[in-house]
């Protein structure tokens, strides 16, 4: 994996494991490859997402980030290799209620209210009705659309719709959050608030995995994995990545790593 070390702050990972009652990492994969016809979306990726971290999965469009998430969720079957989440081999149907997923597409019903959308997803993961009701208020406050609970999603702005989608992923207080480009179309102020909330979650031992193609966003992460054309280029703390490549920011670090990968 060419791992330059997790760095400070991650030694607590084992403590969090006990907190969430799991032995292994939050998510892991080994030599995972996935092709769709001629297109090789993943070409042998090995990765571990420890407990209690925000984990940034970075890379340009088409790097294979979303495919990797879909493999972990059991939505895409890897062509080869093994993967597990929450100590379960994929497909992880039994532990899906402990995973929160926000896809890149707006995956909420436009013709339902925000509240009805959340209620649906709550019921699907087996939450009780009172719990759904209580949590709906909470998560809508977190994403700052509490007053739109009874609005049809179709009447919301683009950013608000994404926030409703995020709220659906947070509703059941999952141990592992898989968020695919959650900050697209969200204004900076709210984006900062999201990061504060994600930190809160990791302090409780949960793991938050975020894909993004904005490199600077990764500076908020405890760990960052850089992906390029289906391969993992690096996985370390943002600081370690910058240090290793001698770059001032992650953008430059990424470019340096791509050059390095192309050279070998």
């Amino acid at each position: 994996m060419g791992d330059p070390g997790f760095g400070a702050g991650l030694n607590t990972a084992s403590r969090f494991r006990r907190l969430v009652g799991t032995k292994g990492p939050a998510a892991a994969c080994r030599d995972v490859a996935k092709s769709f016809g001629d297109i090789e979306a993943l070409r042998g990726v090995s990765l571990e997402v420890p407990w209690g971290v925000t984990f940034g999965l970075l890379g340009p469009n088409g790097a294979g980030k979303t495919t990797l998430l879909r493999v972990w969720l059991g939505l895409a079957k890897p062509t080869s290799g093994t993967a597990s989440v929450l100590d379960h081999e994929i497909p992880p149907r039994a532990v899906l209620p402990r995973i929160g997923y926000m896809p890149q597409d707006l995956a909420v019903y436009l013709d339902l209210t925000v509240g009805e959308n959340l209620a649906l997803f709550g019921r699907l993961v087996g939450m009780e009705e009172e719990e759904i009701d209580r949590r709906t208020d909470e998560v809508l406050r977190i994403v700052d659309i509490a007053e739109r609970r009874d609005s049809l999603v179709s009447t919301l702005s683009g950013g608000m719709r994404r926030r409703a989608s995020l709220a659906a992923a947070l509703l059941h207080d999952p141990d592992l959050l898989l968020l695919d480009e959650p900050t697209v179309g969200v204004d900076p102020e709210l984006r900062a608030a999201f990061w504060v909330y994600f930190r809160d979650l990791t302090k409780r031992g949960k793991s938050v995995l975020i894909t993004t193609h904005y490199m600077e966003e990764a500076s908020n992460c405890d760990l960052a994995a850089l992906m390029h054309r289906g391969r993992l280029l690096a996985c370390a703390t943002p600081a370690a990545i910058k240090e290793r490549t001698g770059a001032r920011n992650l953008d430059d670090a990424f470019l340096a790593l791509v050059r390095e990968a192309n050279a070998t």
Binding site: G74, L75, P103, Y109, T113, L120, L124
Partner: protein
């Protein structure tokens, strides 16, 4: 099991909520079947009115006039022929009397549908039993042909019944009666057809919509199983289909006074079985579609064979035998046959057992297929 039921019902509930928020679709759900029944009822209603029929009454005796008086109602518009007499030769029949010929010209020209001609010796020939009535008929329209002959037969029966006259026709009504109208025989098929249209359209559109928004993926990132999703959707649509059946049946019963001999709940049961299978089929087909435009094109694919092969508009007996096997593949055949037997013949569960089994097989196959395809394309 309990959790699965809860997930299934969650899908049902959200789907009904979607309909609840969509007022226009909700209106459409009620209006479309209603429109179908009304349009079918009035256009195909089969009640023929004012068929222009010329009468050439040369009878010297009173019997022809007595018979004509018994032609009542507005089915036929009787008119004494007063065209100028001229001899003519009718192919295959022989020489007509001149005045019959003139009337026949009118039919030939398309200005009248039929001629009823009574010869001079009509009354005189009745007792020996060799009286004749010449009926000249434009046979190009079956409903009109049926109306003319039916009315005439009715009048004959009324005039000569009990008198032992040679025209007393013995009619054996196994089902229905002389009161059975076209629409009565027709309503069961139309009801089933309305349910077919609506259930397939909605299921096809709904699944494509779930697919296009990336929602299907999101749903399968929860413990929801594809069978639960499909059954949940089918349940919601069954509620809709049930409401529609009530509208359609209500319209048929109230607007057209369709006579139902058998059990109405059983008829609803048939509609429900049929509707569920249609949804399965719709979901299966929509899996093959990438967008709503593609999906909507499947609707005629289902509709046309159903219209033409199933005995809704023509009796199965009218379908060429080489095509008959196809009829037995189209589910509407069974639904329409069962409804026909229940509503008109008063048959019960046992008598329509074969149809029920066929519909159950249809439901099982399409729901399983739907579950399979929905999962596969996620």
């Amino acid at each position: 099991m309990r959790a699965g039921l809860r997930r299934t019902l969650a899908v049902t509930r959200k789907t009904l909520s979607q309909f609840r928020h969509d007022r226009r679709t909700l209106g459409f759900i009620v209006a479309m079947p209603l429109l179908m029944v009304v349009v079918f009822g009035y256009t195909f209603g089969g009640e023929v009115h004012n068929v222009r029929t010329l009468v050439v009454n040369s009878d010297a005796g009173p019997m022809a006039s007595r018979l004509l008086e018994n032609i009542t109602g507005d089915t036929l518009a009787l008119e004494s022929s007063n065209a100028s007499p001229r001899n003519c030769l009718a192919p295959g029949i022989g020489i007509f009397e001149a005045n019959v010929c003139a009337a026949r010209e009118e039919v030939f020209a398309g200005r009248a549908w039929a001629v009823l001609a009574f010869p001079e010796n009509f009354s005189a020939n009745l007792p020996p039993g060799n009286a004749t009535i010449t009926v000249v008929l434009d046979g190009s329209s079956p409903p009109i042909r049926a109306a003319v002959l039916g009315t005439l037969r009715g009048a004959l029966e009324k005039t000569f019944a009990g008198a032992g006259a040679p025209f007393a026709l013995e009619l054996d009504y196994v089902y229905g009666s002389e009161d059975t109208r076209f629409i009565d025989s027709f309503a069961p098929g139309v009801v089933a057809l309305a349910v077919l249209m609506v259930t397939t359209i909605f299921s096809v559109i709904m699944v494509v919509r779930e697919k296009s928004g990336g929602i299907l993926e999101r749903l399968f990132a929860t413990p929801l199983r594809s069978t639960e999703l499909v059954v949940g959707l089918a349940l919601a649509l069954a509620v809709i289909a049930f409401a529609q059946s009530i509208v359609v049946m209500g319209a048929a019963l109230l607007l057209f006074q369709v006579k139902v001999v058998g059990s109405i709940p059983l008829a609803f049961g048939i509609l429900l079985l049929f509707g569920i299978g249609n949804q399965g089929l719709g979901i299966m087909l929509s899996s093959a579609a990438k967008n709503e435009l593609q999906a909507i094109q499947f609707v005629p694919l289902i509709l046309f064979p159903s219209l033409l092969l199933t005995g809704v508009f023509f009796p199965l007996e009218a379908i060429p035998s080489s095509f008959r096997p196809f009829s037995y593949v189209v589910p509407l055949t069974y639904a329409s046959d069962a409804l026909h037997s229940i509503m008109l013949r008063g048959w019960g569960v046992v008598e329509v057992g074969v149809d029920i089994v066929a519909l159950l097989v249809y439901d099982a196959l399409t729901l399983l297929g739907a579950a399979f395809f929905v999962r596969r394309q996620a």
